[in-house]
């Protein structure tokens, strides 16, 4: 088992946001989490990544057999859990190449800088090294560039589980194809698992999830296969689908 989330309750500023989330992800498995805005998807992602403002009041997070419920952000990352942010911050003064090197465990300021690793990673996400290496981290990046910068940093970390928080938002169709293609390739080559948080099915066409979960009001309320749930979501929308599911039991 890659990840096991058991009865997770989370509050922010004493407001309960997750109300008993149960979720499992197997090795090499891709799991999609969908749902309307404010259903708790991003809270779940950032709680799994260890962000301290998300206060876990109940439940456990087991990652590769270890309880990481109260581990710090960087320790989870070191253990193999990586997150691609929906809106990554732009940071002046730090170059993309330095951040990729750091994510790969290389200190770009003390090592004799070998850019080979960074170039290889950038090519994986279709970013021409000569154009992007010296750019400041996410500064002036388009939506698609930001998301590719996220993936580049994540690939450098060589994670075992990737949480993708709306990797498809603000991304045009060409960038989506690049993101989807390079992700699929990485996941398959490394038997890496993924949790894909999204509103749309487009990215899922590339990632072919084994399971789809629908969240509402801080819980997973409906689960099924991609083939089963996606047509229903598209036909009915989340609300009617969830109502139907709750009514039928």
């Amino acid at each position: 088992m890659m990840l096991e989330v058991q009865g997770l309750y989370v509050s922010i500023d004493n407001r309960e946001v997750l109300r008993g989330v149960n979720l499992t992800v197997d090795e090499g498995e891709v799991v999609a989490i969908m749902g309307h805005n404010a259903s708790g998807k991003t809270t779940l992602a950032l709680t799994l990544a260890g962000f301290p403002q998300y206060n876990i009041t109940k439940g456990r997070i087991i990652f590769r057999g270890e309880d990481i419920t109260y581990r710090a952000i960087h320790e989870r990352a070191k253990a193999g859990l990586a997150i691609a942010f929906q809106s990554p911050p732009a940071i002046r003064g730090i170059k993309l190449k330095d951040m990729i090197a750091l994510a790969g465990g290389i200190n770009p300021w003390t090592s004799k800088s070998d850019t080979g690793f960074v170039e290889m990673i950038l090519r994986k996400v279709n970013m021409e090294p000569s154009l992007y290496m010296d750019r400041e981290l996410n500064v002036g990046f388009s939506g698609g560039e930001r998301k590719r910068s996220e993936l580049a940093q994540i690939f450098a970390m060589r994670p075992k589980l990737i949480i993708l928080d709306e990797i498809d938002s603000g991304v045009d169709i060409d960038s989506l194809r690049i993101l989807g293609g390079s992700l699929r390739e990485y996941l398959e080559a490394n038997r890496c698992s993924a949790i894909v948080i999204t509103h749309h099915r487009h990215i899922l066409q590339y990632l072919k999830p084994n399971k789809v979960h629908i969240m509402s009001n801080g819980r997973i309320v409906l689960s099924g296969s991609y083939e089963e749930l996606i047509p229903k979501i598209e036909a009915l929308g989340y609300e009617a689908l969830i109502k139907g599911a709750t009514a039928s039991g």
């Binding site: 960087h74 990352a77 994510a103 300021w109 970390m157």
Partner: protein, 408 residues
């Protein structure tokens, strides 16, 4: 050498010996001595210390001035660089009578007790001159090194960029381990002639008991450009400086870039004044500071617009890492003409948690993540600085932060 011509300056200096400076703590200079320990060789640790302030001490390199306490150890190597004159100031004053006209012209000897003391206790200094229309691309290096306990070092430097010339100067000031307590009163006068350009980068690395009162003035003529970069990374007891640039030619430009890492109980009071005297002149000052420990930092900036079509901008960006540190930004814009455009921008705040968590999410521990953010915030990117020196500053910012930000 006939020193009679200096008498008038000495007399004026005597009058100003007790004149306090308008800014900064009043330093009791009687605690320091002009007596240096006699030494005729470069101390073993000097090359490493010099390298910390960007100066590579090597007999093979050209264009180096190295002053140890009051002794000029190296300076003979300028001749290999075409269009450059570099020599101890006393040699230059003996060689060129006309140089006397530049002595105490860009600033006044009676400005305060520090200028006065510097004149009465002058201990060498350098003369750097770029000859007309010569573009000197290789950086000229000057290092002022204090190695004697309790020393008062007061060099007087004059830099002249003749018409149409360009020069890039890197100066480093530092102290050896033997000089725990010292005072540095460096006088520097810049003369940037018509269409000339001076890029001057000063890297300071003082000791925790060093008192520093540099006094600087610059006169920039028509079309001239004066760029002053200043880097201070290590702790210092107390530094206060407030250089003034007079843009007295049409279209003259001045720019100050300061990068400060204030740590321990350092008191750092840095300002600059740009006077836009002639039509089309412009000035800018960008001050970036990170404050930790119980350091106190003041950034004073003043721009005075006195002529038409002039522009000036002051910017202060501060990051405060400890609740016991403080940063004060005091910008002053003075418009003395209706067609001058002056602005200022100041932002001081803590480290952004969102950015810290973001870096940590890549597997980087918090202390290292803070250090990366601090380094990024201060990132030199200084104009005219050779890439190897930029890289060296980045590397040192990284190492120093790591040790100082632990437990923040």
């Amino acid at each position: 050498m006939d020193e009679g011509w200096r008498e008038k300056f000495k007399l004026r200096a005597m009058e100003a010996l007790n004149k306090k400076a308008p800014f900064g703590n009043d330093v009791d200079l009687s605690r320091f001595t002009g007596q240096a320990v006699s030494r005729d060789a470069i101390p073993d640790d000097a090359p490493d210390k010099a390298l910390e302030v960007g100066i590579e001490l090597s007999e093979k390199k050209s264009g180096i001035y190295f002053q140890l306490d009051h002794s000029v150890i190296l300076s003979q190597l300028a001749s290999r660089i075409k269009g450059l004159e570099l020599m101890p100031i006393d040699d230059a004053l003996s060689k060129y009578d006309w140089l006397r006209q530049y002595y105490w012209k860009a600033l006044s000897v009676e400005q305060d007790k520090y200028t006065a003391t510097a004149e009465l206790n002058r201990t060498k200094g350098y003369f750097i001159r770029a000859l007309a229309n010569e573009k000197i691309t290789q950086p000229v290096q000057a290092c002022l090194f204090i190695d004697s306990e309790g020393l008062l070092q007061a060099p007087h430097n004059i830099i002249i960029a003749e018409e149409g010339s360009e020069i890039n100067i890197v100066t480093g000031c530092t102290v050896g381990d033997r000089a725990k307590r010292a005072a540095h009163l460096g006088i520097t006068e810049f003369y940037v002639k018509k269409n000339a350009k001076v890029i001057f980068t000063m890297i300071h690395s003082w000791g925790e008991e060093t008192y520093v009162r540099p006094r600087t003035g610059a006169i920039v003529e028509e079309g001239g450009v004066f760029i002053s970069n200043y880097v201070l990374i290590k702790p210092v007891r107390d530094i206060q400086t407030y250089p003034t640039v007079y843009l007295l030619g049409r279209g003259a430009k001045a720019k100050f870039n300061s990068i400060i890492y204030a740590s321990k109980d350092s008191i750092i009071d840095l300002g600059n004044r740009i006077i836009l005297m002639e039509e089309g002149s412009s000035g800018e000052s960008v001050f970036k500071v990170v404050a930790t420990g119980t350091s106190k930092v003041y950034n004073r900036g003043q721009i005075i617009g006195q002529s038409r079509d002039t522009k000036g901008h002051l910017e202060c960006r501060g990051m405060i890492l400890c609740p016991t540190a403080s940063i004060t930004a005091i910008p002053e814009l003075i418009a003395e003409h209706s067609d001058t455009e002056l602005s200022h921008e100041a932002a001081i705040g803590k480290l952004q948690e969102e950015q810290l968590h973001y870096i940590m999410s890549r597997g980087i521990p918090p202390d290292e993540a803070i250090s990366i953010l601090v380094k990024g915030f201060l990132d030199p990117g200084l104009p005219g600085l050779p890439e190897n020196l930029q890289a060296e500053i980045r590397r040192r910012l990284f190492i120093i932060d790591k040790s100082l930000t632990k437990g923040v």
